[in-house]
Every structure is written in C-alpha cells, then in structure tokens.
C-alpha cells in the first residue's frame, strides 16, 4: 500500500515559486496498479519522484505499507522500491546479469543467491538466460532493454514499484506486447505500483485506479470504468476524449453482458420446430443450430423456416463469427461492425455455446450510468 498525505512540492525558480504538486492525498491499495495521468507539467512525475525522494517533498508525508517513510534512510528506502524510468537507464558498462544484480548486491545478498535470482527473472520476462545474461545493454533491442529494466526493478522483490512512463519509448507493437506481459506478471506478483503515463489508452488498459492530474492538483482519482462514466469536470472530460464511452468497451468482458439463456435447434429437428421456437423466444431473424456437444454449427433464418419444409441440417447458414467469454466488448463491437450483425453467439473455452451478446445489451450497458445520473439530476430538481 502506498499512501500520500498532503504531499506538496514548491520549486523556487527565478520567476518565483512554482507549485508543482499541491497537497496530493491519495492511497493505492496493496497489489494494485495506480496510473498517474495528465498533460505534461501537471505534477504527476513530481508526485511519483517524491515517493523515492528523487525530488524532496516541500511538505507532506509518504506512507508505504502503513509506515511513515520520512524517518527512513534515503538509500535504504530506495532499495526497497523498484524503479523503472522511461529512458530505461541500464548501465552500459555492466552485463545484463550485473545490471539485474545491482540491487541484490547493494543489499548484500550472496553470489549464488543473486545469480539464481537473475536467471529466475530472465525466465519471468521470457528472455533466455544463457543467451542474454552475459551480453551488454547495447547489444539488445529497445524492447528487450526495457524488459531488463523491469527485471532489475523486480530483482530484490520490493513490495512497491514506481514506473515513470516505462513503455513510452517503445514502438506501439512492442509496447502492447510488453504491457500484456507485464500485466500477466503482475497477476502473480501483486506489487503495489505507481505508474506515470500520458497515454489514456495505456492507463485504461493497465490501471486498477487512475489519478488525473492538472496543474499540480489531483483532479480525480477513480477506477477506470467510474472515471470514464463519471468524469468530474470538463477538464477531465476533455482529457479522456470525446470517445470515452467507446473506451469503456475495453473494460467490460463478454462474460459480464452475455445473456445466458439462448434457445437453439438441433440439426435433426425440422424447420417448423425452429420457427415455433423463434416465435416462443421472440427472435425476429434467426436461431442458432448446435451439435450434440452444444457447439454452434449454423444459423437457421426465419424466412427460410417460413417458406421451406425439411430439416434444419439441410437449410442452415454458417456462423460468420463468434465471441469468446473473455473477449472485451471493443473486439465484439468491431466484429459486429465487420460482419454487419447486431448480435453474436458467445462460446466458452471448449467452443460450447453459452449465450449471446447483442448490440442493444452493449449500448444499454454503456448508457445505464448516464440514465442513473439523469434520473438523479431530475430527482434533485
């Protein structure tokens, strides 16, 4: 857990005092990622760097796991906080192994222990230890270097990590890969992380909490979904962008919205049964046909069922596309647009049909927050 209590930084400049961070108070629960987000010069980096005293706070306190860090020795404090910077900052004079082992060595670990730890970390970041440990940073690509940067920060297994735009200098394709890898690692590691970013999409993807900064002040501190649904003021709203409702699609999984009861027909049933079932369930256009393992194999269209006689197995169309339960809504919406469909069948990991998701359900979900707000506003009036 990281708690900032009225943390303030005033810089003395020739033009007078500048308040870079103004009474920042916030708390990041243990094991969560908090993204500090805002335009440049908004105080997010200053706030981050006050935690490990790269910048000395003018006033205010930092608590880590409930302990006031004010009295701690600076080096001691920093050795227990993982630190990743945008410029990566690997030491070019040291091999990868030496780079990763810097903090364990400072902490006085013995040789076999930090060597073993370096190999363990390399496996964690999916780089072959034997191939990379003896190389120098200049012999690695940017993406590999930043993976090593993360590994170095994790070396002594600190409970808390500070990351200053860690993936900002990496090309978009590699960045997405590293973000995914990092999130996967975080599921096991459960570090408490403060993460500076200026990229709203990165924030939504990575953050459990997002803190929006503006001109040295903390404007809003919420969970991503809450932030996108309920921006506090116009600044936050404009920062999130006009497509903020669409950005929420990233945050919702098919699992959350899929309707579970979906009527189906079997190949050996006849078309009249299919038509009746559509009427019973109020399906306007079509019905899914599944095999004996409940896997979707096709769609029977209403016009076909109305005009033809026979069995479903002879009169179905193939399913253009399906959604998986773990897909996010952004992918689903994209599939719907691509295939000109207003609903998609949902399948589980074994390919069994377990529901359907409709465009209506998606828009309803995205809109529900606003309707609640409007209802409240009207009630207040």
């Amino acid at each position: 857990m990281i708690r900032l209590d009225n943390l303030t930084k005033v810089f003395d400049t020739p033009k007078g005092a500048v308040t870079a961070a103004d009474q920042i108070t916030m708390e990041v629960p243990a094991g969560e990622i908090c993204i500090l987000l805002g335009p440049s010069g908004c105080g997010k980096t200053t706030s981050l760097k006050m935690i490990n005293r790269i910048i000395r706070p003018t006033s205010g306190k930092v608590f880590i796991n409930g302990e006031d860090t004010t009295g701690l020795n600076t080096q001691e404090l920093r050795r227990n906080i993982g630190y990743v910077i945008q410029q990566i900052g690997l030491f070019p004079n040291m091999t990868i192994e030496e780079n990763i082992s810097v903090v364990p060595k400072l902490l006085g670990w013995d040789k076999t222990r930090y060597k073993e730890r370096a190999r363990e970390l390399m496996r964690m970041i999916a780089l072959e230890p034997d191939a990379f440990l003896k190389r120098y940073p200049s012999e690695l690509s940017g993406g590999q270097q930043q993976r090593i940067g993360v590994a170095r920060a994790l070396a002594a297994d600190p409970p808390v990590m500070l990351m200053d735009e860690p993936f900002g200098a990496i090309d978009p394709i590699n960045r997405a890969v590293i973000q995914d890898e990092f999130l996967k690692m975080q599921q096991d590691l459960k570090k408490t992380i403060m993460f500076v970013s200026h990229d709203i999409d990165e924030a939504i993807k990575m953050g459990d909490h997002i803190a929006i900064f503006r001109a040295g002040r903390l404007e809003q501190y919420s969970r991503p979904d809450e932030l996108l649904a309920n921006p506090k003021d116009e600044f936050v709203e404009s920062f999130l962008g006009e497509d903020r409702a669409l950005k929420r699609l990233n945050l919702v999984k098919v699992r959350d919205l899929a309707s579970e009861n979906v009527a189906t027909v079997l190949p050996e049933e006849d078309l009249q049964t299919a038509l009746n079932r559509m009427d019973d369930h109020g399906y306007p256009g079509s019905i899914m046909m599944v095999n004996d393992r409940h896997q979707p194999v096709g769609v029977v269209q209403r016009p076909v069922a109305q005009t033809t006689k026979g069995y479903c197995r002879d009169h179905f169309e193939t399913v253009p596309t399906m959604a998986r339960l773990d897909d996010d809504l952004r992918k689903v919406a994209s599939l719907m647009f691509a295939h000109d469909m207003t609903w998609l069948p949902c399948v589980d990991d074994n390919g069994r049909l377990c529901g359907q998701i409709t465009q209506r359900a998606i828009t309803h979900h995205l809109g529900s927050r606003y309707r609640v707000q409007q209802a409240e506003t009207i009630a207040e009036v």
Binding site: E76, G89, F91, N93, M94, V102, V103, A153
Partner: protein, 243 residues
Amino acid sequence: MPLQNMRGALRLLLIIFVFVAGVWVQASGTIEELLFYLPDVKYLVGQHLWLTVMSGGLAILVAIPLGIVLSRPSMAHLAESVMQVLNVGTTIPTLAVLALSMSFLGIGTLPAVFGLFVATLLPITRNTYAGLKGVSPALREAASGIGMAPLQRLFKVELPNALYVIFAGIRTALTINVGTVPLAFLIGAGGLGELIFTGIDLYDPLMMLAGAIPTALLAISVDALIATTAFAVVPRGVNPSRA
C-alpha cells in the same frame, strides 16, 4: 583491379626505395655514426622516461581527482572558472612555463617536473570533467533511484562510463609530455634534449637525430601503451574499440 595493381606497384616502389635508402645509409657510414651515440641514448632515454613518469604520474594523480571534484553538482558554480585557470596554464608555451618555474625553483629536475606537470594537467582534468559530465542524466537518476549512495554511483556507474574519455585525455597528455621533455634540457634536467639541442648548436645533424629519433619512438610507444591499457581496462559495453 586497376586499383589493386596501382597499390601493388606503389608497394613495390616503396620497398625498392627503402632498400636503396638502407644501402645508401649503410654505405655512407651513417648507421655506424648513429650507433656511436648508443650508450648516451640509453642513459638519456632512462632520464627522459623518468621525467615523463614523474610529471605525468603526478598530473594523473592530481588531475583525475580534480576533474571528479569539479564535476560534482555542488561545485558547478566553481567548475568553469577553475577550468579557465587551467586553460591559461596550457596557453602559455611550455618553454615559458619551464623558464618561469626555473626562476622560482632553480635549475635541475624539480622545476622541469613541475613545468611538465602544469602542461600535462589540463587535458586530463578537462577530459575527466567532460567525461563525467557526459554521463547521461538518466543513468545517474537510475543509479540513485535504485539506491546507490553518491560514492557507489561515482565508482560503479559514472567513472566506468567516463573511462574511455578519461583515457583519451591521458593519452593526449602523456604523448605531448614525452614530446615536450626535450625542452627540460634547457633548464638542466637532462633527457634526450641533450643530444637534440647540442646537435643543433654544433651543426651536427647526426647527433640531433640520435636524440630526435628515440624521442619520436618513445612518444609512439607511450601512445600505443596507453591505447592498449584503455582497450583492456574500459568495460566492453562502453568501449567503442571493442564494440
């Protein structure tokens, strides 16, 4: 192909020229006359090297710590002024520096070592300072951020990364030093200058060459020695010649 033929022809010409020159030198008895100075040369090379080692060694011992101190953030306001003073020290011709130090310290080895020391100081200090200042701020922040104390940061990150530039300074300074030592003869410190200047005064070109050729060879050897040391000492990751 024409280029290769051209090169081959030039090489052949060069070999013929060297051979003819060798024959001529041998026939004229020049080599024997030069060899006549061999005992002198042996003695004077020792003296010459001793002056270089003393003045150069002292300069390294003073210049590197000075460069380190000046590069510390707390010294930022002083650094450029000190550098200017050292610059002036280098602008004054070495001969003048030697003459000045003679008028304070008298004749002999001491004023010579001092004069050479002053002339050698600046390139090393300048390169140490520039090398350390050139270490990327990101590296310094990373080093501090992961919990290195200031001295640990200096020795584990800043110096290793500046080492190549520092060595370049030492190399320049010592090579110039070896080439300057002959002047020390003028204030009574000996060295190969003894043969060079006496040769000039006596209109004896062979005597002068007996001093000048070993001086040149010494300068080249010192340069090669330091280059080799740098190659071995500077870590591979920051060593352009080992990339």
